[in-house]
């Protein structure tokens, strides 16, 4: 059945008009609810919109704070649209994009989306809370010691290295670039700690072929955005980051995180989201000036560079050579705030805010002339992606 590509009904119809975040750290005193409310309140103040105007709410299914509690604290108005997106870090662009769909279709006029999390406490890690008897898909992996997300992605990484010749040097390129970017970002938690290639190569193993520095951070913190119509955004305090294109992606026969059971496990959800996003967009990968790619683990960057069409399959590793993903001179500066590996890991929501800051011109590693800014969410899980543009 032939399907006609559609440019979609939401292209350029909405914008991120406000962004807000708390401090990032380990062992923050405030509760997750307090952090969520502070980030949302700050995003609304940034936009210049009173909380009583908020009538749409989008959140991750893994978000611990319920809409009712957020609304009662921040003093939101009558909510006429609320929704959640699943699959952990795959939801980041999903909640923002679904908020955009709700605003564009008139279900609400001012939508908020956020993520709040206290992950720095080791006992808060989901894998550490595994039940002794497994009846879900984890029964096919955990009894064999494939327990943590890093183990699940390391299996795909080793296979990738075997099929395409990827190396630890490629992964080091990624870790070093993000640390370098974080060093310019006072909000980052790791910017004060420089990293050398030797540091990377000598780091302890976590799940070979992945070492400590291939992993994201564990962070307490919260971030939020405000989505309104493009018309409204033009009258507000901040330069709009227009939501030019948005897609989610869940490919056929995909199994989240442990995608070993189909014909092409290395072709993940990024390819599905990318196809739909580029169909909708007036621009191509060559037009993207800066990208925030989901980096729970460094190899996800390589898969995302391929999936979103910045290079051919198998070329994602070499793409990271020669400073290609580094600010300011790289062909495609990636994760300019430091990302999940060096700024903060808040389930990828910090990537959304940095993508909007690049359009505003307020990043601490600002790419000159950044008029098209890509943000992606988790690869290896059902995912989502947004293209922000400066002009609508």
């Amino acid at each position: 059945m032939a399907r006609q590509p559609s440019s979609g009904l939401i292209k350029n119809k909405t914008a991120v008009a406000g962004i807000g975040q708390t401090a990032f750290g380990k062992g923050l005193a405030d509760t997750e609810l307090s952090l969520a409310c502070q980030a949302i309140s700050s995003a609304l103040a940034d936009a210049g919109i009173h909380p009583s105007e908020v009538d749409g709410v989008a959140s991750y299914t893994m978000e611990p704070n319920r809409e009712v509690d957020v609304a009662r604290n921040v003093g939101l108005g009558e909510i006429t649209w609320f929704s959640q997106v699943g699959f952990g870090g795959g939801a980041g662009c999903g909640v923002v994009g679904q908020a955009a769909m709700a605003v564009a279709t008139g279900q609400c006029s001012v939508a908020i989306a956020w993520r709040a999390r206290k992950r720095a406490d080791p006992t808060s890690r989901p894998w550490a809370q595994a039940q002794a008897r497994l009846a879900d898909s984890s029964q096919w992996t955990r009894p064999f010691g494939v327990i943590r997300p890093v183990d699940e992605i390391a299996l795909l990484t080793r296979r990738y290295m075997h099929e395409y010749g990827g190396t630890r040097d490629h992964l080091a390129n990624i870790a070093l670039a993000f640390r370098k970017h974080a060093s310019r970002n006072p909000a980052s938690t790791m910017g004060h700690k420089p990293m050398t290639r030797d540091d990377y190569m000598n780091a302890r193993w976590i799940s070979e072929p992945l070492c400590l520095f291939d992993n994201c951070l564990e962070t307490d913190g919260a971030l939020a955005v405000v989505v309104v119509s493009a018309e409204r955004a033009r009258d507000l305090k901040q330069p709009p980051a227009y939501i030019h294109a948005f897609a989610q992606g869940l490919p056929p026969q995909h199994q989240t995180m442990t995608n070993y059971f189909n014909e092409d496990p290395l072709r993940g959800p990024a390819w599905t989201a990318a196809r739909r996003m580029w169909e909708m967009a007036d621009v191509t990968p060559a037009d993207v000036k800066v990208a925030q790619l989901y980096d729970a683990f460094s190899p996800l960057i390589i898969l995302s560079l391929e999936g979103y069409g910045f290079c051919a399959r198998g070329d994602g590793g070499p793409f990271t050579d020669d400073g290609n993903i580094e600010w300011p001179n790289g062909r495609l500066p990636v994760n300019t705030s430091g990302g999940g590996m060096s700024e903060a890991y808040v389930h990828g929501f910090n990537l959304v805010l940095e993508g909007a800051r690049q359009i505003r011109g307020t990043s601490t590693a600002q790419v000159e002339g950044a008029d098209v800014s890509l943000v992606t969410s988790g690869e290896g899980v059902p995912t989502s992606a947004i293209l922000f543009t400066k002009d609508a």
């Binding site: 009846a135 029964q139 009894p143 064999f144 494939v146 299996l155 799940s207 059971f261």
Partner: protein, 144 residues
């Protein structure tokens, strides 16, 4: 050593036939009772023909290593006790897209940390062996 190991819930109706097979020393795969398409992990409906009829078929129990890792702490206590250990993905000789996560061991009751990880290679042939922990029999893999 294996106290606190993560194990399948044998009462899961979708998967129990697989684990019963392991207990008998058989590596089974689920197949559609209508069109015959094999699928693993098991699930209630055939994605090719939508039949909910299911049958379980024996396999050769032989395959090749598709990928592997070596896990180091931090891990759950039962697994930290044997770390670093290997975990592998095996593709079946007769159906390469049917894959199993497992461990490479020297024999049925070998430890998952006995084989020097530096000697493990993608593509090497393996055969299934079965290892009992509590009331569960896990498929593991030995070099063949």
């Amino acid at each position: 050593m294996e106290t606190g190991w993560l194990l399948p819930d044998l009462s899961d109706p979708t998967a129990s036939e697989f684990w019963l097979g392991c207990a008998r020393g058989e590596l089974l795969v689920q197949a559609c009772g209508s069109c015959g398409t094999r699928r693993m992990p098991p699930r209630p409906m055939c994605p090719r023909c939508r039949s909910t009829d299911v049958r379980w078929e024996p396999t050769s129990g032989r395959g090749r290593i598709w990928s592997f890792i070596v896990a180091h702490p931090p891990l759950l206590p039962a697994f930290s006790a044997v770390a670093p250990y290997n975990a592998i993905v095996v593709e079946l000789d007769e159906a390469p897209t049917i894959r199993f996560v497992g461990n490479l061991v020297t024999g049925a009751d070998g430890e998952i940390n006995e084989i020097d990880p530096a000697t493990i290679t993608i593509g090497e042939p393996v055969r299934v062996v079965f290892h009992r922990i509590d009331d569960v029999t896990l498929p593991r893999w030995a070099r063949s």
